[in-house]
């Protein structure tokens, strides 16, 4: 027993450590009107710092880089607006983009920002970025101080969406070894302090060329979800991320902010390699046999919207993706395709039992609950499901034959391409086996398109053109379930500016417009 005691104690200790966290104190009573403390999850802290070449602002979780300026920005409706750019044009063959920029912008070290810096930035990210794909860019070239020309390797009509996430770095002061922790930019804020694993302090850039930020100081703390909630209870944060688990709580002095998102969750249904999901009827039956509203109630506490595509509510979304919940029709589809209900409640066709193993990433309670709810719902259709937690080290491989609960949702149509377009070397899509030449050709056309407006229509046609696509009446290789609303505790009196629809990643998106936040007096 003597030796057991340390074991027991260490177990208790481990348990205790997991809920640790630090917080800087900001007494509620004397709150400065132009300072704000925001709490994000530990994974939101950029590991490689604030260098656009190492994923700051870009990558899987897109957001505005704040410290740097970008050429373009995405508007509230996810169309394209200008930040540094004053105009842009593309050649008829789509291989040359010409962008003119403002001449009144300088970096925080006083040096002016010129087209040479822009060209340098893009050539640098092309050479070094492992997070974003820049293979479509051949090189960038500064023609004069305010004009930059991008030479493309292949037409890429949605280039403005890439330009919205690449922060411009100064050519004269860029050292890839130190820039991440000591960034110089021309954006709304400057980085004044970064305590790794704890916090980041941003201060307004006094020489900012646009509207001066209302919030002069932004402190961002990185905490686990439970620590974030404790910080809210202690009144130490002005805004803190949270999830549906905590949504029924009511900390005094705070209210819940629920932001709509395209942070979707869906499952892939491999069109080959899995005898059950390879059957089109099964995929269609799942898509209409799932009660998304019930899922939102059960798993998300009501804080979510049904998802019908990877890009709901974005300009390139095709509303034909939407389906109504119709379990009778789902059963009819299965019976028609020869899936006969057995004595044990599981359908069988040609000796194949309708059994699915639904994978989710270990440690993600929302995806686990979605997988569980989905398997309960599918059981009613006669499809028996088990769930299994997997790590990302094996998840990608296993998803090639097994449905996995995924999370997507980005501010670029390129996501459609990544999910549905075939790869040249394998002839099938990257994440889950699927191939449809018509869908491919619409997306290829969309990328070759001269204008963004025209490309939206082609992206929509890739989803459904009236006869084929990836929707219910098409091949339905993925079934989209829900968009998870992003939840935050907000201190009473803090006016959070209107949010554009949040992409995947419950992190930096909320502070995209922190410069426009204010405290009601």
């Amino acid at each position: 027993m003597k030796r057991l005691l340390p074991c027991l104690l260490s177990l208790t200790l481990i348990a205790g450590c997991a809920s640790g966290g630090t917080a800087s104190t900001t007494p509620a009573a004397e709150h400065p009107a132009d300072e704000v403390v925001v709490v994000m999850g530990p994974t939101s802290e950029p590991e490689a710092g604030f260098d656009p070449a190492f994923g700051w602002g870009a990558g899987e979780h897109v957001h505005e880089p704040l410290i740097q300026s970008t050429l373009t920005v995405t508007n509230a409706d996810l169309t394209i607006g200008y930040d540094l750019a004053t105009g842009m044009s593309v050649s008829d063959d789509g291989l040359t983009w010409t962008v003119t920029i403002r001449d009144d912008v300088s970096f925080t070290d006083g040096e002016p920002l010129t087209a040479a810096d822009v060209a340098f930035t893009y050539n640098t990210v092309k050479a070094t970025s492992s997070v974003n794909d820049f293979t479509m860019l051949s090189s960038a070239e500064a023609v004069d101080d305010t004009t930059v020309v991008f030479h493309m390797t292949t037409p890429y009509s949605i280039w403005p969406y890439t330009m919205a996430i690449v922060g411009i770095v100064p050519e004269h002061a860029y050292d890839s070894a130190t820039y991440g922790s000591n960034p110089i930019g021309s954006g709304r804020y400057t980085l004044v302090q970064w305590d790794r694993g704890e916090q980041i302090i941003l201060e307004a850039n006094p020489d900012y060329y646009g509207e001066a930020p209302k919030m002069k100081k932004v402190t961002i703390l990185f905490m686990e979800e439970d620590a974030a909630f404790l910080a809210v209870q202690a009144g130490q944060a002005d805004l803190a991320y949270t999830s549906a688990v905590y949504a029924d709580q009511s900390p005094t002095g705070y209210s819940l902010l629920s932001c709509e998102s395209v942070d979707n969750r869906g499952i892939n249904l491999p069109t080959e390699g899995n005898p059950v999901t390879a059957d089109l009827a099964v995929r269609r039956a799942i898509n209409i046999g799932v009660d998304r509203e019930e899922m939102i109630r059960n798993v998300l506490g009501g804080y979510g919207t049904p998802a019908y595509s990877v890009c709901d509510k974005l300009p390139w979304y095709n509303p034909a993706s939407e389906v109504a919940y119709d379990p009778e029709e789902a059963v009819r589809l299965l019976e028609e395709a020869g899936w006969v209900l057995g004595d044990d409640g599981v359908r069988v066709k040609d000796g194949v039992r309708a059994e699915l193993n639904i994978l989710y990433s270990t440690g993600d309670s929302v995806r686990q609950a979605l997988a569980a709810d989905l398997s309960n719902q599918l059981a009613e259709l006669g499809i028996a499901c088990t769930t299994e937690g997997v790590g990302w080290d094996t998840a990608y491989d296993r998803a090639l034959t097994t449905p996995l609960v995924w999370g997507w949702g980005a501010h670029t149509p390129m996501e459609l391409y990544n999910i549905y377009h075939t790869m040249p070397d394998t002839g099938t899509a990257l994440y889950s086996p699927y191939a449809n030449p018509t869908v491919d050709s619409y997306m290829d056309q969309a990328l070759r398109c001269a204008g963004l407006e025209d490309s939206y229509e082609l992206w929509q046609k890739a989803q459904w053109d009236g006869t084929t696509g990836v929707t219910q009446d098409g091949d339905i290789p993925w079934v989209w379930l829900v968009n998870v609303n992003h939840l935050y505790w907000v201190r009473d009196g803090l006016q959070v500016a209107e949010q554009k629809i949040h992409p995947h990643g419950h992190g930096w998106s909320i502070v995209n417009n922190v410069d426009q936040w204010s405290f009601a007096s």
Partner: protein, 275 residues
């Protein structure tokens, strides 16, 4: 009680009780394993009540069924790992003591090496190397817990080999195997059995810890480590029952095994035969 039963009988009774309780948990958990996987969102986050004495979690799973199934799984893993460990320990211990000085040096060095690495770290590393999951945990715990028993058995065998009755038996022409079977083994058995039983609590706790840390059993399985780590995120919202009952049951199980081992030692120890 004192007058009715002597210490030996009480020890017997207690160990019988402990063994029965553990067996009951194992069987109950085995029978409830289907119920433990059922998710029902209409009954999520219920505090302990008559229908669900241990409450339910955020997916509406019955925590009583989950806890018992988890413990049952832990015990079965414990049995497997303790058995493997004990056999390894017996083999290494006897080999070191009987196969000459060089073998002894090498094996003793191995024992020191394994003992020198912190247990939990070693378990995590081996579990990862075996691809986590059931196999990983069993391999991790089994391959890291044999050392102290091996060292104990080695010492015991060394001592026995120079005992007069063993030397006499050898002089009388008994073969090595006969000596080992007739004279060494009966003497080693109590040590071995006690060591085996006392390995259980370690195995169970390490299985729970390594799973808690995310290097063990997969998260859809009703394992105690999984239950405890999941409950962490719900403690701040006041759902105490998610951690309290499973934690208590884990401690109780471990304590029962320790009790069982301790009483068994008393029963088997020749010196206590007349107490």
């Amino acid at each position: 009680m004192d007058r009715l039963l002597n210490q030996r009988q009480r020890a017997l009774l207690l160990s019988a009780f402990a063994a029965l309780a553990l067996l009951a948990v194992t069987v109950a958990g085995f029978l409830l394993s289907d119920a433990a996987m059922v998710t029902d969102f209409s009954r999520k986050n219920l505090a302990p009540c008559l229908a669900y004495p241990f409450g339910t979690d955020w997916m509406g799973r019955d925590m009583l069924a989950r806890t018992l199934t988890g413990l049952s799984l832990s015990i079965r893993i414990g049995v497997l790992t303790a058995a493997v460990s004990a056999v390894v320990a017996l083999a290494v211990g006897t080999a070191a003591a009987t196969l000459g000085r060089r073998v002894d040096a090498v094996l003793s060095w191995c024992i020191d090496l394994v003992m020198g690495i912190p247990h939990i770290l070693l378990v995590i590393l081996i579990s990862l190397a075996f691809g986590k999951g059931f196999v990983g945990v069993v391999a991790g715990v089994a391959l890291s817990h044999w050392t102290s028993l091996a060292r104990l058995l080695r010492g015991e065998v060394l001592q026995l080999r120079s005992a007069p009755y063993v030397l006499t038996a050898e002089k009388l022409g008994r073969t090595r195997l006969q000596v080992a079977r007739d004279h060494l083994l009966p003497h080693l058995l109590p040590q071995f059995l006690t060591g085996l039983i006392l390995l259980f609590p370690h195995a169970i706790l390490h299985e729970a810890s390594v799973t808690f840390l995310g290097f063990g059993l997969s998260s859809e399985q009703p394992a105690i480590g999984v239950i405890l780590s999941e409950s962490m995120s719900y403690l701040t919202t006041g759902k105490w029952w998610l951690a309290f009952f499973p934690g208590l049951m884990l401690v109780a199980t471990v304590a029962l095994f320790a009790l069982l081992g301790d009483r068994l030692r008393r029963i088997l120890d020749p010196a206590t035969i007349h107490q």
